[in-house]
Symmetry: C2
Subunit: 336 residues, 2 copies
Amino acid sequence: MNNLLIDVLDGKKVDRPPVWLMRQAGRYMPEYMEVRRKVTFLELCKNPELAAKVTHQPVDILGVDAAILFSDILIPVEPMGVKLDFDPAPVISNPVRTQKDVDRLTILEPYKDVPFVVETVKLLVKDLNVPLIGFSGAPFTLACYMVEGGGSKNFIEIKRMMHNDYKSFSTLMEKLTISTIKYLQAQIDNGCPVVQIFDTWAGILSPCEYAEMVLPFVNILVDNLKNAHVVYFAKDSATFYKYISNLKCSCIGVDWKIELDEADMQLGTGKFVLQGNMDPVILFTNREKIMNIAKLIVDKGKSLKGHIFNLGHGILPNTPVENVKYLVELIKNGCQ
Amino acid sequence: MNNLLIDVLDGKKVDRPPVWLMRQAGRYMPEYMEVRRKVTFLELCKNPELAAKVTHQPVDILGVDAAILFSDILIPVEPMGVKLDFDPAPVISNPVRTQKDVDRLTILEPYKDVPFVVETVKLLVKDLNVPLIGFSGAPFTLACYMVEGGGSKNFIEIKRMMHNDYKSFSTLMEKLTISTIKYLQAQIDNGCPVVQIFDTWAGILSPCEYAEMVLPFVNILVDNLKNAHVVYFAKDSATFYKYISNLKCSCIGVDWKIELDEADMQLGTGKFVLQGNMDPVILFTNREKIMNIAKLIVDKGKSLKGHIFNLGHGILPNTPVENVKYLVELIKNGCQ
């Protein structure tokens, strides 16, 4: 069993940073596309054998130090009462806009509502030789999708709800927080020693909005998870780090918009293990650049409490697989 | 003549911050739409009488303390040798990808290539009773559009050029920097006492990429402009402020992702007048929220060297006009 990821999260000294890559199972990989051709994206997420298979692929093909459950952040919100489809971007045909819309949403009961996720976790932990990372969207990011009805450019609907109807917004956030606690705890209880919370859309807010209306729910979420390390990843949120510094989790995911040492300083020196932070577009350049930038990141990582090498966001479609393999090898060889 | 904007930029003490709003002339305003219905967007930009008319509208209708030349940041790059259209987003059908593509680009000669811009400025300064702000895109933001061939989600092409073919990238940046100096100086020489440089896409980069490959050109640009105040606005770039702090300009535009006092600290306390920073989406909420948030911003502005009230990005289409009017009145009345 390769336990490097857990060692770093436990605060142990290690010889090199563990490496895994957000969206390491995905469209850039031919073996994934082969599985994907036979089923829709939602079918893939809901089929434990296939979901386990694509979760396993990057461990076998790239040799990363962790697997991350293959799923979509919107999977747990569908049974709460929204109509979800992928086109290929997520579309919610009954967006949540009013108190009535919020009231009709139910709390997720993972063993009843998303048994396939629990099943996938069980299948994976049986034979993986690396830790399995569970994950969910953060309450605010899930709320964005539910209120906007999908992705968004300017996030007018969610911000309008936050400011014009805080009661509906906070009730929605409460329901999502409780559901997310249950969802992540089910993943943990079935074998995930680490869970990552993706707050992809936190960065659309002002520091004040984030600190007052979003972070309190992240705090509740993190405080209520037991028996696992928690990684919190809020994209485009470096200006919120002074608030995030009080979060009771093991690790903060960092995007490429800030250097790791600077991020550490703003989060409270040595308080968190940091994960990141190569721009995924660097994988479209060339080996020399990949090596130079990886080296810089690994060097900055040495001054931290602990460092998990990752990208600053998910691998992009059409990323050259050979560059991804090269990067993983590089980190495993100590950037030699 | 209302000279409040210039007074603040000159470092004078004033009773209230001057207010103008990015994209204050635009689709949200019925009077603009009436002009726009008769011509295409490009025709409007190239017609001095009509461009002057829509530049004037927000001064008359909203009562803002400054006018900003109506144009598009891509207007000066078209005569350099790219085929530009709006659909309604900008599309460049011959994107710049190779050294050969860069070599065929010419340097802008504003009096010959965009005489209509000079003419619009001349028409406006004759009868405006507020300062006219000239503007251009920053070299990097213009390069993004030219290399990507329009807007982009992940900016793979421009980053690939930066890392795989720096010679082409830097030659492109040089040509854009020289062209932008000429373009802005022509606006200044014909009557703009202030110019704003929009670096809309700077925020896609890492701090290292920005500091090494982009900022040097912004420095050259700013250092070569004479006889005007320069405002530099780089969106999503709060993590670059320690580098931006050495820029020799009067004012930095700030988006809503960082508080004004925090921005001031990171830019070097009291070094710059700051402009900003209300999230344009707040104009979709309600009067009470608009007042509360405007008050907070104005209060933070009082601790600065100088403060120009503005949004943190352009006014969005469909923004309720009555809320825009309310905001401008509010700032002019000292948030009473």
